[in-house]
Assembly symmetry: C2
Homo-oligomer: 362 residues x 2
């Protein structure tokens, strides 16, 4: 029956520090912020006393005085909407959670991952954003642009996929390796006979997409030696292309024992399977969740879907960006979320989520 108490009975302010040291609050402020024109000795005394008294700056007062507006550019693709609309919703939710901070979000939508993004950023050269959220496609292509932005003092956070070895502050994604590995583990437990598996992805130059396949292949080799893997198909997030590719995949025999669709672009694939009447013979694991997918999972025609929690990703990404811009908090490492494994039994929770309050599930 222990009792712990968080000790913040009487918030210490700069006046208290000033009084304790018999200096002015102006001096205290300068010392605390390492501004010019403070003697090293007083600076040291102030910092010591501040720590001693447990000084924590009053955020409300600061933002009241500064009353700055933070402008954030948000660059996401339009397709796949079921994913990126929720990502945008998460960003918006995070912005309103920061009380007393004036955040202006400017949403810029380009057609699809890696298509039209550079042009939009280029056109916004004079918008003077404080920070940018971006869903990057091919890192080699967008990397130089990110570095340029950073050199101009604009803080960049990547979402949904990453562009490592650039100047981006941080990245928030699903752990793509783990996503692929989960899909493989689920197949390995469900398919007992030998056969081959097919994968449909977006674009292998996108880090997130490539990593998923790596995780999938590695885990499969380890746990399901009876299942082989045919080369991945890239749909470039285009529904029509994905449909044609799925059809040609199903034209050959023997059929694959299972198909893993590693992006949200699974609708056309399911349509192809439906038309060929192969949904009951081929195990399917998809990615993310949209209304049409629900009945497939309910009926067991889709084994599972790996929900990438776009709302949560968007919220976290803006949180990281704002915390850094506001008080310089450095994120320790890129955030890698685990996807939700959506099965028949937990599906109802996710449909509620789609219908209404995304923050109730996260």
């Amino acid at each position: 029956m222990t009792v712990q108490k968080v000790p913040n009975m009487k918030p210490v302010n700069i006046k208290d520090i000033a009084k304790a040291l018999d200096v002015s609050i102006g001096t205290v402020d300068r010392a605390l912020h390492g501004r010019s024109d403070v003697s090293p000795s007083t600076r040291a005394r102030v910092l010591k006393k501040a720590k001693e008294l447990g000084y924590r700056p009053n955020f409300a007062a600061r933002s009241l005085k500064l009353n700055r507006r933070i402008r954030i550019g948000v660059y996401f693709p339009t397709e796949i909407a079921s994913f990126f609309d929720l990502l945008r919703a998460g960003v918006t939710a995070a912005s309103s959670a920061f009380v007393g901070v004036n955040v202006e979000l400017v949403f810029r939508n380009f057609p699809r991952l890696g298509k039209g993004d550079l042009e939009l950023i280029e056109a916004d050269r004079n918008e003077h954003f404080d920070g940018i959220l971006i869903a990057p496609g091919n890192p080699d292509r967008i990397g130089p642009t990110i570095n340029q932005l950073v050199q101009h003092g604009i803080t960049v956070v990547c979402v949904a996929s990453d562009a490592p070895r650039t100047g981006r502050l941080s990245a928030v994604t699903v752990d793509a390796n783990v996503s692929g590995a989960i899909a493989a583990e689920l197949f390995s437990r469900t398919i007992s006979h030998s056969g081959h598996l097919a994968t449909i992805t977006g674009d292998l130059t996108t880090l997130d997409h490539a990593e998923k396949l790596k995780g999938f292949a590695a885990s499969l080799a380890l746990f399901a030696p009876h299942l082989s893997l045919v080369p991945a198909v890239e749909s470039h997030e285009k529904p029509t292309l994905a449909y044609r590719q799925a059809m040609s995949l199903l034209a050959r025999k023997p059929y694959p024992a299972g198909i893993y669709v590693s992006t949200a672009n699974s609708k056309p694939v399911l349509q192809a399977l439906e038309e060929k009447r192969l949904l009951n013979q081929i195990q399917v694991i998809t990615t993310d969740l949209y209304p049409e997918l629900v009945s497939y999972i309910e009926s067991g025609k889709v084994l599972a879907t790996l929900f990438q929690r776009p709302f949560t990703q968007g919220r976290k990404a803006l949180e990281i960006l704002l915390r850094y811009l506001i008080d310089g908090t450095q994120p320790v490492a890129p955030t890698r979320f685990t996807p939700h494994i959506v099965l028949r039994s937990n599906l109802p929770l996710f449909t509620d989520y789609l219908a209404g309050q995304p923050d109730s599930l996260s």
Copy 2:
């Protein structure tokens, strides 16, 4: 390539409204807050103008002026520590996320769910908490106390389990029904031969525990008619008791085909299975995650564990409580999280989580 803009170019303040109507800012404030001593006509004029100008109150200024301290009592059990310590960590994290609000957390720990909680609350009668977080055991037992607190103007939010039909503001839990159903679905896909399943829970008067078994039984009946269910065993969250019960469960033949441990108290059960050398013959699904469990999942001796996201629960619960206390935001419905299904392939993400930054996973 649409462009949406959040329109907050030039924040309107009460001065602007006052100037526009040629009244004082005091009057504007009184009108906006429906305080006494404002003529209905001026009130109407102010409200109209405020809406017209798109007035949004400045929270920084308000909280600076009010500068109130919110005192929260947090009543959680000590056992099971692997769960409740993370729950406390989540609460603490949420409190520091509220910038510009002075939150004082007072942690009170009682031995175990439903044991010693009432006494602690009674002893705190004069603490004058603004709100309380509590992990309730038997709702019938603690319900009256919750209602008393509420009548004294103390806002109560339940965490980890619920006490419905009381005056609590809201509750944050894992969806217990879904948790049970997931366990059943996993068993139904893994165990193909007929047999019976055993369940070990905490206390069936605790809502969360009872609901898990209901979800488990219902889902089992639906999807796995070849698996029957023996009556649930209650361990009352005591390790020694759980061990003895597991041993007697394993003394009878035939052995159960699978065991579902629906609370975090699985360590003694695994110990019993280990000693009887039955870990490879009996499928086990556990709840939550602690260091010793890791190797069981890695080696496949435990099929899966359902991680109840205690950190996320704690954070969400305090968020709801503070939002209500600060600006009266009413939570729409109790929050029911989906548990994380921890398998071999996503386990590494969770061990990182245990090791370090719980907020990176949530």
